[in-house]
Amino acid sequence: MLPANPLHSLLSGDYPRSRVLAATLFIILVCLAFAPFLFPGSQPINVAAKICVFVILVASYDLLLGYTGIVSFAHTMFYGIGGYGVAIAMYNFSPTWSAMGIGVVAALILSMALALVIGLFSLRVRAIFFAMITLAVASAFAILASQLNEITGGEDGRSYRIPEMLRPGFRLFDEPVLGVMINGRILTYYLIFFSALILFLLALRVVNSPFGRVLQAIRENDFRAEALGYRVLVYRSIANCLSAGMATLAGVLMAIWLRYTGPDTTLSFAIMIDILLMVVIGGMGTLYGAVLGATIFILAQNYLQVLMGELSDALAAAGIPLLPALFHADRWLLWLGILFVLSVYFFPVGIVGKLRQLRS
């Protein structure tokens, strides 16, 4: 009898199954866990926090797209609800933990109710219809958010204060630890990091459970699943709700970090596209793909642009036509878009899938 393997139950049996992948994930984990100490400064920790939040946001989308096979464009709506839940609570009540708790719970309830309604109404129709309807609903919601000035702050969004322990001015210890002062910002970061970690492991648990397996069966062949006795509509609706809930929590975390929520940071279609890119490039239906995809994308967004800018300047200085424009810093999305299209064709399983294939 082998001793109970703690790693096995932590990862719910879903191992990376590729040494390169495992190593990469481990490096990412370590970097994120010790980011404030390894990379001092405000930009790196910003990037790290963003990565943590997006890992959860993209993982929640993978649950829907990769595991259940549903394309939805309403995901940013749930993300936004989470953000606004915190924003409205913190803005209108005093910035206490209980107020935040109320905001989070209210956001979750709203999200899951909406997900349920959309699901029951639309999951009966063809996938294409569902995709278009979610697009329309998300647009409607974004419009609503910018119109309801008194509640949401309209176009400008809401800035607010967060509980005292999380504010930059707060000091946990008087002396710096390992060269870094443990202030509210660091504490916020670790709140986000550990929440993200726990949520990710929970997601692994869900997709590797019997429920998760039924979802995958439905994705492969919904007629067959229905014939086998599984109420496809019910399973899809539940998946929709879980995914929405997780996205909402991602929104909550981001709202705590930024101390600001607005239509551009949560509801814009550009974010929806970013999520799509991350999940496809990383690898659909793997959850680990969310980690890779989010990391690659956000690092690219923050650091690749600088590199491209330098390349572009060099090309311009050399007098080569057209290329400087192609490599201009603002055109980083072009290359990611190309990578995205190539991924759908050649690595439909994404980087994670490819690494796993190479292993066998």
Binding site: V71, A127, I128, A131, I133, S139, A325, H328, V344
Partner: protein
């Protein structure tokens, strides 16, 4: 379409053929219903003409998409690409014709417009051919991949517009003779909008004739219902697919040119912005129905313009509310195509 079914006996009387006028009637009904709400007749005329013009443009941009989807079962989420490119490409035609743009002569102005349209349709038609070959063909029948890939194609295309034409908006000046308004009594109608309405009606008429009076149109209508059976009757319908895709892209380009002159600005995201609206229109009209698309576009434009005047806060969401209402009435759209 509800038609009484005949009994089995051959001697049964012919069923009464009811052409489904009700959805089409909604357009004048809505317009007339708005008149008392708007109050002033002249304002109503201005609003209605503006709405008709906008509706025509949306119809042109959306018609290609609904046919492509109905015939090929391909949903091109990147349809906005052809709109944007069509608009930007008209800059190429405007360059050498600057003199005609500045002239007061309406004839020359219209020629400029037609030149832009011709160039745009040529380029977007070619782009459509390439798009179908490279992007769409590998993923026939796989809806999920289609959605993802066409979105990806759109992202890349929008970025390429930035590369070629720069990232800032480019102003687009309407030719001199087309500016200004025609005033009849108290009512003012912008000249350009009237031209857009006329153009739109001409194109719709041409499409209607082609679909209903020609063999190709017959093939398309049959193919929308059951492409496999058309093949079994001996027609290479795949070739027709490509043709329809090219035509659809060219129409989007045409719509893009008109849209660009309407807004008098070019932005790389203009195609994407109008994407959601186009989806709403083709859902309202019924996927695969050109007539439905026409009625849907007019309804959406009328509702948007009237609410924009009466209740501005609701204007942006009005199209979505219209879609919900129509889906509650007819879940498959106004003119659903009989599917396999």
């Amino acid at each position: 379409m509800t038609v009484a079914t005949a009994t089995a006996a051959d001697n049964a009387t012919l069923p009464k053929v009811k052409i489904d006028w009700l959805p089409a009637m909604l357009v004048p009904i809505l317009a007339l219903a708005a008149l008392p709400l708007v109050g002033s007749f002249s304002t109503w005329v201005t609003l209605t003409v503006a709405a008709l013009a906008m509706g025509m443009m949306i119809f042109l941009m959306a018609s290609g998409l609904t046919l492509v989807f109905g015939l090929m079962d391909v949903l091109n989420f990147g349809h906005g690409v052809f709109i944007s490119f069509g608009a930007y490409v008209s800059l190429i035609a405007l360059g050498p014709l600057a003199g005609w743009v500045a002239s007061d002569n309406i004839g020359l102005n219209i020629l400029v417009l037609l030149a832009c349209i011709a160039v745009a349709m040529l380029v977007t038609g070619g782009l459509g051919w390439a798009f179908e070959r490279i992007v769409i063909r590998p993923v026939y029948g796989q809806h999920l991949k289609q959605i993802l890939i066409t979105m990806g194609g759109m992202i890349v295309a929008e970025q390429m517009i930035h590369v070629i034409w720069g990232a800032s908006p480019i102003p687009l000046r309407l030719p001199e003779g087309l500016r200004g308004a025609i005033v009849i009594g108290d009512a003012a109608m912008e000249r350009y909008r009237v031209i857009a309405v006329v153009l739109g009606l001409l194109v719709f008429g041409a499409m209607h004739v082609m679909l209903n009076r020609t063999k190709i149109g017959l093939l398309i209508r049959a193919g929308v219902e059951n492409a496999e059976m058309v093949e079994a009757l001996g027609y290479r319908i795949r070739r027709l697919f490509v043709g329809v895709f090219i035509a659809g892209s060219a129409l989007a380009g045409l719509g893009g040119v008109l849209w660009a002159f309407y807004r008098q600005t070019l932005t790389a995201g203009m195609g994407m912005e109008v994407n959601v609206l186009i989806f709403i229109v083709i859902i309202i009209g019924g996927l695969g129905s050109v007539g439905g698309c026409f009625v849907g576009a007019l309804l959406v434009a009328l509702v948007a313009n009237y609410t924009g005047f009466l209740v501005p806060k609701l204007a942006l969401g009005s199209s979505i509310m219209l879609m919900v209402l129509i889906l509650l009435w007819r879940p498959q759209g106004l003119y659903p195509v009989a599917k396999r």
